[in-house]
């Protein structure tokens, strides 16, 4: 069941899945019902509700009779929960994965500067590389 959720993309960053992001905390069977626990990244993230719907739909398509999705807020989500594959996929999409120091996803330089603390989604900030001059998004450590 967990592997099925590997195919549920994040609605705003569809090149990573919800398991890459580490927001699937628990999947188990309760009789005929699949019970899924999700942890939202940021409390106001509008993707959370879309993801809940996608999880239900995907599991039903794979034959689940009933699906119940619950939200688990404690312990709070951390970027430490993003998997190694998640890091690779972010980098491949031109987004710097969380790290103690951001690196340019294009040229790999560690010489970068912050342009804006906030980006197009709650989990990202906007940076620019001093070496190749390319702006990029950075999943800020959280």
């Amino acid at each position: 069941m967990y592997r099925i959720l590997d195919d549920v993309p994040d609605p705003e960053m569809p090149f990573v899945s919800i398991t890459d992001l580490g927001i699937v905390r628990d999947v188990r069977l309760d009789g005929d019902t699949v019970v899924v626990a999700l942890t939202p990244t940021y409390s106001g993230c509008p993707a959370t509700q879309v993801i809940q719907g996608d999880v239900v739909r995907t599991l039903r398509e794979h034959g689940a009779k009933d699906v119940r999705v619950g939200v688990r807020i404690a312990p709070p989500w951390s970027t430490d929960w993003i998997t190694e594959r998640g890091h690779e996929r972010l980098r491949a999409a031109g987004i710097a994965p969380p790290a103690p120091h951001a690196r340019c996803p294009r040229c790999g330089s560690g010489s970068v500067r912050e342009l804006s603390r906030f980006g197009a989604t709650p989990c990202k900030a906007l940076y620019r590389c001093n070496a190749c001059d390319e702006p990029f998004e950075y999943v800020k450590p959280f």
Partner: protein, 247 residues
């Protein structure tokens, strides 16, 4: 546990979020537009968690939406500081800075709450508010230690809002009760650490910490400034006019 306790924290987040949203499309630069919207979004998310819990405790069938759209000003229990109008960018920065700093301390206390749900919400919200505080403090320092014009406007904004900050540290009977049973904290305890941080930031910003000690109060008990009614009228008009409206 009285529903009013989580409701207070939820109303603070909700009212400030609604205020910050009004900047969208009007911020001085694009990055600030994005930042203010993101901060507002986090605060809306936090408000939903608090209000949902309050609705369950109250057990009168009101969910987060009912509590948001179908209460009048007298039933809101946010502190007066957050309902204050946006003013200019300095006013908004001062309001956010004073609130973010207080909220980071208050939520820190609530992470140790004996009530599991309150501790969980506080843990989640605290991570977000700390990030907000870094931004609002940066702006306070940058504008204070900026041009003569930005300095003067930042000082005027801080002076103007100062009389609304005292309320953050005045406890009432509900606060006492929640502190005594390990659910909450005594607001008075946060005053010294808050003031200490304000002095540090104002010194870095070359600003003068306002000297006044008189304070406006009443928000937590539902007695608000005129500003809140106008804000609620705009926020609530659609669901009240068309109760069945759906996205």
């Amino acid at each position: 546990m009285p529903a009013e306790y989580p409701l207070r924290f939820g109303d603070n987040a909700l009212v400030l979020a609604q205020r910050l949203c009004a900047w969208v499309g009007h911020a001085p630069v694009m990055e600030e537009d994005v930042a203010l919207a993101n901060v507002a979004l986090d605060l809306f998310g936090q408000a939903r968690l608090w209000l949902s819990y309050a609705g369950e405790l109250e057990a009168r069938g009101r969910d987060e939406d009912a509590l948001t759209f179908h209460r009048d000003a007298r039933e809101f229990c946010n502190v007066l500081l957050v309902e204050h109008e946006n003013g200019d960018f300095a006013d908004t920065t001062a309001r956010s800075y004073f609130y973010d700093l207080w909220a980071s301390l208050a939520l820190g206390e609530l992470t140790r709450s004996g009530d599991e749900r309150i501790a969980a919400i506080a843990q989640k919200a605290l991570k977000e508010v700390r990030y907000h505080l870094r931004r609002s403090q940066d702006w306070l320092i940058r504008l204070g230690d900026g041009t003569p014009e930005s300095h003067a406007r930042m000082q005027r904004a801080a002076d103007g809002l100062w009389r609304f900050t005292g309320e953050l540290f005045i406890g009432d009977r509900l606060d006492d009760e929640m502190a005594a049973n390990g659910t909450g904290f005594a607001p008075e305890r946060l005053r010294d650490p808050w003031l200490e941080r304000v002095h540090e930031a104002f010194s870095a910003a070359t600003l003068t910490v306002p000297a006044g000690t008189w304070t406006q109060r009443g928000g937590k008990q539902g007695v608000h400034t005129e500003a809140l009614g106008y804000m609620l009228a705009e926020m609530q008009v659609l669901p009240r006019a068309m109760p069945e409206a759906r996205w």
